[in-house]
C-alpha cells in the first residue's frame, strides 16, 4: 500500500514541478486542474492529495509560496519554482526518462534476442 502511494507521490511531485516550470507561479487549484487536463482523463485523483505534496516540496525547498490575487481578484496561495526546484526537476526528469527508456527496451517485443 504505502509503496504505491510513494510512487504516486514521486511522480506527482514531478508533475507539480513541471507544471510550475511551464506555467510559472500558480495556486493549488490551478496546478490540480492543469495536471488533470494534461493527463486527459487517465488520472482521476482527489485534488486534496495535492496539498500535502505541495507542502512536502515546500519543506524540501523546491518550491516557495506566497499569497497573491487570482485572475478574478480572489486571494490565493501561489506556488513557484525555486532554483533548487529547477535543478531537481531537471534531475528527476532525466531519471524518469532513463527509467522509461530502460523499461521501454524491455517491453519492446523480441528485441533482446537479436
Amino acid at each position: 500500500m504505502s509503496e504505491k502511494a510513494d510512487v504516486w507521490q514521486g511522480t506527482l511531485a514531478l508533475m507539480v514541478l513541471k507544471t510550475l516550470q511551464v506555467l510559472g507561479p500558480l495556486h493549488g487549484y490551478g496546478i490540480a486542474r492543469r495536471i488533470e487536463q494534461t493527463s486527459g482523463d487517465l488520472l482521476a485523483v482527489n485534488y486534496g492529495t495535492l496539498y500535502p505534496a505541495l507542502l512536502k516540496l515546500e519543506q524540501e525547498g523546491y518550491i516557495s509560496s506566497e499569497w497573491g490575487q487570482s485572475d478574478n481578484n480572489r486571494k490565493a496561495k501561489y506556488y513557484k519554482l525555486t532554483r533548487a526546484g529547477r535543478k531537481q526537476l531537471e534531475r528527476e526528469a532525466r531519471e524518469w526518462e532513463q527509467a522509461t527508456a530502460i523499461l521501454a527496451r524491455f517491453l519492446a517485443p523480441g528485441e533482446e534476442q537479436s
Binding site: N46, Y47, G48, P52, K75
Partner: protein, 890 residues
C-alpha cells in the same frame, strides 16, 4: 540535506499552530471558491457546483488532516500530547507523584551506587600500557589447601615456560608480597616490598616518574642493591625530594641505592607495593627442591595476533607437561593465565560480596517497582471511567497503552534524574569508605559513563516493570460494563485487587528474604572480624615507638628502654597493665619461616610460614588473650634463660594433631642463616589474626621480647576506662625517659582496627542500610494497598456498619486483610531464606555461621511489626467511617 531541512521545518510545524491552521483553512476556502466558480461557468447549478468541488477535493477535513500529518510529526505530536497530559496528571496529585518519584529514585540510587563500585572493580583497566594484552600466569591446584585460588608458581617452571611458550613475547616474574624494614632518613618503618625481575616494568609498559627502572643485568647477584620507590612512599616519607634518586636507603639493615620513583598513577591493586627490588634468580641453581618453592607470579605480554584463549591453551599444556615430567613435585598442579584485570577480580574474590550487594539493592528496586505498580494500578481503577470514555469516543487501545506507558516513562525520567543526583552523593560516601588502603584506592568508585548508562537502563527497565501492568490492564477495559455499571465500586474489581495483593505479598517476601540474607551476612562478618577476635580491643591504647639507631644501638639498651617505660606506664592512674609487642594483635605481623625438630634439612623455600611477634611478659594479660595450655612468658624469660616460644592453636593443631605440642623444639629463621636457636614451645594461645574477611587464620609464633628485643615496637596499654584519657600520660612517660624520642600513632585499638579493616564494616553497613530500606519500602507498599482498599470499600464498610458491624469488627476486618498478605509474604521469604547459610558457606571459603538461627526467628516478627504499623493507620480510619456519609457519597 533536503531531508534534514524538511525535518526541521516539520519540527517547526509543531509550533505556531493557530496561524498555520488559519492559512490552511484560507487555502482550502480559496481552492473551493475557484472550483465552484469554474463549475458555475460550466453550467452547473449552485448546489451541484459545490458538491462536485467537494467530491473532487476529497473532503475538506480529510485533506486538512493529511496536510497536518505532513506539516508536523504526528508521532512526536502524540508523544508531546501524552507527555503534557502525563505532567498534568503528576501535578494534579503531588503527594502521589512525590512518593512514586522518590521511591523510584531511592531504588535507582541504591543500584547505581553499588554499580559504581562494581564498575570500578570490573571495568576499570589497570594502569599499565595496553592492559588487555598483559597476562598473569599462575598455578592451579584443586587439591591444595587454598583451593583453586590463583597460586604462585616455582622458579624452575618460570624458566621452562619462559623458554618454551610460544604465545608471549616475554615474561617477568614478581615475588609474592614481602615486608621489609626501611631505615635511615626518617623513622624506620615496615614497608611492603616486591622482588621483581629486571624486565618487570618494561613488560608492564610503565615508565618511572623520576630516575629509571631496573637495567637488564640488575637482577644478578651483586648488582641487585638498587630499589625503585612508589610515589606514595617517596612523597610521604621523603617529602617528594627529587634528590633522593641516587641516595642510599637501608632495607633490613642493608644499603640500597634509589634509582627511580614510579608515577602516582601506577596502582596495581593486587600487586601494589611500596617499593621494588630486583629478584635474583639463577637458572643454574634450580634444584629439585626449588620446584616446591612456589612464590612467583608471572607477568607476560601476548605476542601480536595471539589471543588470550591461545595463551591459555599453551600455558595449560606447559603446566601438564611439568606435571608429567615431575610427578612428585607437580602432582595435581596446573598452570593458567588471565589478563591482569580478570586476575585481579578473581584474586580479591569480590564476586560473592558484590553478588550479595547487587541482590539486595536489586530487591530494593523490585520492591520500589512493585510499590509504584501497585499505586498506578490503584489509580487506574479510579481512572477506569476515564479510560472507558476515551475508548468509547474512539481512542484505540494501543493509543491508551501508549499514553499510560508514557506516564510511566515520565515517572522513570524524574525518578532516574533524582536517583542520579543521589548516586553522586552515594559514590562519594563509598569513595571515602573505600580508601583505607592502597589496593582499594586503585579501585575508587566513580560515577562514570558506565554508571550513567546503567542508571538510564535500569530507569527504563523500571518504567517497563511498573508501567506494564496498569497499561495492559487498561487494554482489557470493558467499556460497556464500566460505563453501565456505576456500582462496580461496592466490590471493586476482584481481579485487579488480586494482582495488587500478589504484588504486595511479593514485596513483603522480598523484604523478608533480603533482611534475613543481610542479617546472616552481617552476623557472619561480625563473627569473623569481631566475635572470633580472641583478644579484647576495648580500652586498649596503642603507640608506635622506634628507637633511633645510634643511641639505642644494642639489644640491651632497647630492652632497658622499653622495660623502664612499661614500669612508668603501669604506674599511670587508670592503667591496668602495659606490654610491648613487635606487632599489634588482630592486624597481622610480618611472617617468618620456621622448622620443627626432625625437619632441620627442609630447604628454605619449603619451610612453613607463621606470623611472628616478639612480646613482653605482660602481653597476654594486657591484650586479654586467654592462654589455652602451658604458660605465658614471665620476666624470667630473659636473655640468659633457656629460649622459649608460644605458638597459636592453629599452628599447634596443624603440626601436632595429637596435642603434644608443649615442650617441642622450634627453630625460627632470622635473616642470619648462621643463627640457629632452638626454642622450647611453652604455651599455646588462640589465633588472633584473621586480617581479611573470611580468611583462614594463620599460624602465629611469639618470642619473649627480652630474648629478642627490637628498636621498633608497639606499646599496648590497657586502661579501666576510655583509653584516650591515657594518651597524655603515655607521651609524658616516654619523654621523661628520652625527650627526643618520637611517638607515632597514639590511638585506641578500636580506632586502629577501623583504619585497618575498613572494608568489611563498610559492607556490613551497606547491607544493613539496604535491607532496612527494603523493609521500609515494603511497609509503604502495604500501607498504600490497605489505605487504598479502605477508600474503595468505604461503601461496603458503611453497609456492614448499618447492618450491625461494630467499629472493632471493621478494624479487625481491615487489619486482618493486610496482615494476611504480610504473613503470606513473610512465609515465602522465610522458605526462600532457609538455604541461605549453606549458600553463603559455598560462596565464601571460610564463612562459618554459628548460632545465626535467631535471625530466622527475629525477622518475621519484625516484618510483621512493620506490617502491623502499615495496616493500623488505615484500619483505624476504616473504623471511623460514618455509615451515613459513606452511603450517601456517590
Amino acid at each position: 540535506m533536503r531531508r534534514l531541512r524538511s525535518w526541521f521545518l516539520r519540527l517547526r510545524g509543531l509550533f505556531g499552530k493557530e496561524r498555520r491552521e488559519r492559512e490552511l483553512a484560507a487555502e482550502m476556502e480559496s481552492h473551493l471558491r475557484m472550483h465552484i466558480e469554474d463549475n458555475l461557468r460550466a453550467g452547473m447549478s449552485a448546489a451541484e457546483a459545490r458538491r462536485n468541488a467537494l467530491i473532487k477535493l476529497g473532503g475538506i477535513e480529510q485533506t486538512k488532516e493529511n496536510y497536518r500529518d505532513r506539516r508536523g510529526l504526528p508521532h512526536l505530536e502524540t508523544l508531546i500530547q501524552d507527555l503534557r497530559f502525563g505532567v498534568r496528571m503528576l501535578q494534579k496529585n503531588p503527594g502521589f507523584s512525590a512518593i512514586v518519584v522518590f521511591t523510584l529514585a531511592l531504588g535507582i540510587a541504591a543500584n547505581a551506587t553499588i554499580f559504581s563500585f562494581v564498575s570500578a572493580v570490573t571495568f576499570r583497566k589497570p594502569t599499565v600500557s595496553d592492559p588487555d594484552r598483559l597476562m598473569v600466569v599462575y598455578g592451579t591446584n584443586p587439591t591444595h589447601e587454598w583451593g583453586t585460588y590463583q597460586n604462585p608458581i616455582s622458579a624452575p617452571n618460570f624458566f621452562t615456560w619462559k623458554n618454551e611458550n610460544c604465545v608471549f613475547s616475554d615474561l617477568a616474574a614478581a615475588n609474592v608480597l614481602e615486608t621489609a624494614n626501611l631505615t635511615g632518613q626518617g623513622d624506620p618503618e615496615r614497608v611492603s616490598a616486591r622482588l621483581v625481575t629486571a624486565n618487570y616494568f618494561s613488560i608492564l609498559g610503565v615508565s618511572p616518574a623520576l630516575g629509571r627502572t631496573f637495567a637488564a643485568d640488575e637482577d644478578q647477584g651483586g648488582k641487585d642493591h638498587v630499589v625503585v620507590l612508589s610515589h606514595e612512599l617517596w612523597a610521604r616519607r621523603y617529602g617528594s625530594d627529587p634528590k633522593l634518586v641516587g641516595a642510599t636507603v637501608h632495607l633490613n639493615g642493608e644499603s640500597y641505592t634509589v634509582i627511580g620513583v614510579m608515577p602516582a598513577s601506577f596502582l596495581m591493586s593486587a600487586f601494589q607495593a611500596q617499593l621494588w627490588r630486583p629478584l635474583v634468580l639463577n637458572p643454574a641453581q634450580q634444584g629439585a627442591a626449588a620446584r616446591e618453592n612456589r612464590k612467583l607470579f608471572l607477568f607476560a605480554r601476548l605476542k601480536p595476533g595471539v589471543s588470550t584463549k591461545q595463551a591459555q591453551a599453551d600455558i595449560g599444556a606447559l603446566g601438564r607437561l611439568a606435571a608429567e615430567a615431575f610427578p612428585e613435585a607437580e602432582k595435581s598442579w596446573g598452570a593458567a593465565t588471565l589478563t591482569l584485570q580478570e586476575f585481579t577480580i578473581r584474586y580479591f574474590d569480590w564476586g560473592p560480596v558484590l553478588v550479595m550487594l547487587v541482590c539486595v539493592v536489586g530487591f530494593v528496586l523490585l520492591i520500589a517497582c512493585a510499590n509504584i505498580a501497585g499505586l498506578l494500578l490503584a489509580r487506574a481503577t479510579g481512572r477506569g471511567k476515564e479510560m472507558a470514555i476515551r475508548l468509547a469516543i474512539g481512542a484505540g487501545r494501543g493509543r491508551i497503552i501508549r499514553q499510560l506507558l508514557t506516564e510511566a516513562g515520565l515517572i522513570a525520567l524524574f525518578g532516574g534524574a533524582l536517583g542520579l543526583v543521589l548516586t553522586f552523593w552515594g559514590a562519594r560516601v563509598l569513595q571515602s569508605a573505600f580508601s583505607y588502603n592502597e589496593a582499594m584506592r586503585a579501585q575508587q568508585p566513580r560515577v562514570d559513563g558506565h554508571v550513567l548508562f546503567f542508571a538510564a537502563a535500569i530507569s527504563i527497565l523500571a518504567a517497563v516493570l511498573f508501567g506494564l501492568a496498569p497499561a495492559l490492564r487498561a487494554g482489557t477495559v470493558d467499556v460497556y460494563t464500566i460505563l453501565k455499571n456505576d456500582s462496580a465500586t461496592v466490590t471493586a474489581g476482584r481481579r485487579r485487587s488480586r494482582l495488587r495483593s500478589m504484588l504486595v505479598a511479593g514485596e513483603v517476601a522480598l523484604a523478608a528474604f533480603s533482611l534475613m540474607g543481610a542479617g546472616l551476612m552481617i552476623k557472619g562478618i561480625y563473627d569473623d572480624l569481631f566475635a572470633h577476635l580472641r583478644f579484647d580491643p576495648q580500652n586498649l591504647l596503642t603507640a608506635h615507638i622506634t628507637l633511633p639507631d645510634p643511641r639505642y644501638g644494642n639489644e640491651a639498651k632497647q630492652a632497658a628502654f622499653f622495660y623502664e617505660l612499661l614500669g612508668k606506664l603501669r604506674a599511670l592512674p587508670g592503667a591496668e597493665s602495659a606490654a610491648v609487642t613487635s606487632d599489634l594483635p588482630g592486624i597481622g605481623a610480618g611472617t617468618r619461616t620456621f622448622r620443627l625438630k626432625g625437619q632441620e634439612g627442609t630447604p628454605a623455600g619449603d619451610r612453613p610460614r607463621a606470623q611472628y611477634y616478639t612480646v613482653s611478659s605482660d602481653y597476654l594479660r594486657t591484650a586479654d588473650i586467654p592462654l589455652i595450655s602451658g604458660r605465658a612468658f614471665t620476666k624470667e624469660d630473659g636473655p640468659n634463660a633457656p629460649p622459649v616460644a608460644l605458638v597459636n592453636e592453629f599452628l599447634a593443631r596443624q603440626f601436632f594433631p595429637k596435642g603434644d605440642v608443649l615442650g617441642k623444639q622450634i627453630l625460627i629463621d632470622t635473616g642470619n642463616a648462621n643463627e640457629k636457636l632452638w626454642r622450647e614451645i611453652v604455651g599455646v594461645v588462640p589465633a588472633t589474626c584473621r586480617c581479611q574477611l573470611f580468611q583462614l587464620p594463620n599460624s602465629e609464633i611469639y618470642e619473649p621480647f627480652l630474648q629478642k628485643p627490637g628498636a621498633d615496637a608497639y606499646v599496648l596499654l590497657r586502661s579501666n576506662s576510655n583509653p584516650d584519657s591515657l594518651s597524655p600520660g603515655l607521651r609524658e612517660a616516654v619523654w621523661a625517659l628520652d625527650k627526643d624520642q618520637p611517638i607515632a600513632g597514639v590511638m585506641s585499638m578500636q580506632q586502629r582496627r577501623s583504619l585497618e579493616l575498613g572494608g568489611a564494616p563498610v559492607i556490613q553497613t551497606m547491607l544493613g542500610i539496604f535491607a532496612g530500606l527494603a523493609v521500609i519500602l515494603a511497609g509503604v507498599g502495604l500501607y498504600g494497598l490497605v489505605a487504598y482498599s479502605v477508600g474503595q470499600r468505604s461503601q461496603e464498610i458503611g453497609i456492614r456498619m448499618t447492618l450491625g458491624a461494630g467499629k472493632e469488627d471493621v478494624f479487625r476486618l481491615v487489619l486482618g486483610d493486610g496482615m494476611k498478605l504480610a504473613l503470606i509474604g513473610v512465609a515465602i521469604g522465610l522458605v526462600g531464606a532457609f538455604p541461605l547459610p549453606r549458600a553463603f558457606g559455598s560462596l565464601f571459603t571460610d564463612f562459618y555461621l554459628t548460632g545465626g538461627g535467631w535471625i530466622f526467628v527475629a525477622v518475621p516478627p519484625l516484618i510483621c511489626g512493620v506490617a502491623l504499623l502499615a495496616c493500623y493507620i488505615p484500619a483505624r480510619r476504616a473504623a471511623r467511617v460514618d455509615p451515613i456519609v459513606a452511603l450517601r457519597y456517590e
